[in-house]
Amino acid sequence: MSKMIDLSKEADEFLKKIEELSGEKITSCIQCGICSGSCPMINEMDLTPAQIMLMTLLGQKEELLKSKSIWICASCYTCTVRCPRELDLSKVAEALRQVKLRLSIDRIDINKMDKADLEELPPIALVSAFRKFTG
């Protein structure tokens, strides 16, 4: 006997939104876990990449948007080159970040940055962080 999971309308809309923003077919994820096993930042994450995929599929918006993991992914594409379904998880993480950034909820406050850090860091570090952490 098959069992069906009914998504609420809201959960389904969230899934569709992330699929549209990322351009990735999240429903084709088979939960094999290669992404989580390959991720160099896994020790810093509260949700594994595979969990992010499953929770996006289930439209668990609130948990996803408060997770640390979506900000930790630095788009290294290690999982992307290994995914047997050819899914690009870095695009999914970017889509989740964008949902917050487009509400003007930034991850970094440039005004509060340490002056010594600003002088020490190379421009590529600063520009990329501002691109990823501010809307």
Binding site: W71, A74, S75, C76, D88, P122, P123, A125, V127
Partner: protein, 300 residues
């Protein structure tokens, strides 16, 4: 051979030694890297959402400059654009591929650019390492004045040279372009399983501690395989692996510093170029004591 060259922001600030040594090495091999007369920041990271076209404007604008250089005869029928920074390489190349493949989007981008001519989709973004591969490693070997045979070198790729697959300069899982280059310079290239593991990239701005943990893991792996020096082609990898050793050393008292330099710095050394051109004085962990010990530098 004259090739248009895109430096990017960091090559003009924190990584001047990378630029200077690369231009000198290229010249020795008969290649003139002609800097774009006008260029702008590429945005460093590729925009990953499907609806965000505006952040591709910066990369595409730089590609239009290559068309202009050809029209102005600054280069002869040369539509390759060379980069040194791995991040610029990745960002420029990925945007280029997107707009070559998608005519409709290219039209949109062209309609946003007011002062520039239309981008025709005829530029090829390449990394300097690919130019070296095309020149041929035998020709590179011919230029050696000081073989690097006294050095055990770990080559570090990071992410942006290899991934995603469509922009990589080599196999994303088993690259060997840097190994082949350094073997042709006479060096002993050590085994380095972590050579393509992410260094944490821009997380270094928000969370330097966890980047330092990655640096510790990556460099310990290089040292376990007896590397004495690490080479890279990305100024952000270089910063994380080199400067973040300060935090690593404060956390792990047993950790001994290891120099991390740009591949072009050691190439310049092997080619017998002036030590100022090699630019070893601008790395955070100096390679000079190692190079002195190995007899590559005269005692002053």
């Amino acid at each position: 051979m004259k090739i248009p060259y895109y430096p990017g922001c960091t090559l003009k600030t924190k990584a001047k030694n990378f630029e200077r040594s690369s231009i000198a090495v290229a010249e020795m091999l008969g290649v003139e890297l002609v800097e774009l007369p006008k260029w702008n920041c590429c945005g460093v990271v590729h925009s990953l959402t499907s609806d965000d076209l505006i952040h591709h404007l910066a990369p595409i604008r730089n590609l239009v400059r290559v068309q202009e250089m050809n029209e102005e005869k600054l280069v002869e029928d040369e539509f390759r654009l060379v980069t040194l920074c791995s991040m610029c390489y990745n960002t420029l190349k990925r945007s280029n591929l997107r707009f070559i493949e998608n005519y409709e989007e290219r039209e949109k981008i062209n309609s946003i650019m007011e002062r520039e001519e239309d981008y025709k989709g005829n530029v090829k973004v390449v990394h300097f390492l690919e130019i070296l591969r095309d020149i041929g490693y035998d020709k590179i070997s011919d230029k050696i004045k000081k073989p690097l045979d006294k050095l055990k070198i770990a080559v570090y790729y990071g992410c942006n040279l290899l991934r995603p697959k469509e922009v990589g300069i080599d196999d994303p899982e088993n690259p060997d372009i840097l190994e082949t280059l350094f073997e042709s310079l006479g060096a002993e290239v050590t085994l380095f399983p972590y050579k393509k593991m992410c260094c944490g990239s821009y997380q270094t701005v928000l969370d330097k501690e966890s980047v330092a943990d990655l640096t510790y893991n990556i460099l310990s792996n290089a040292k376990e395989h007896h590397a004495e020096i690490v080479v890279t082609s990305c100024p952000l990898c270089a910063f994380n692996l080199d400067n973040r050793q300060e935090i690593v050393r404060s956390k792990h008292s047993e950790f001994k510093a290891i120099p991390v330099v740009y591949f072009s710095q050691l190439m310049a050394l092997a080619f017998g170029l002036n030590i100022e051109i090699c630019g070893f004085d601008s790395n955070y962990i100096s390679a000079l004591p190692l190079l002195k010990k190995k007899g590559y530098l005269k005692n002053k």
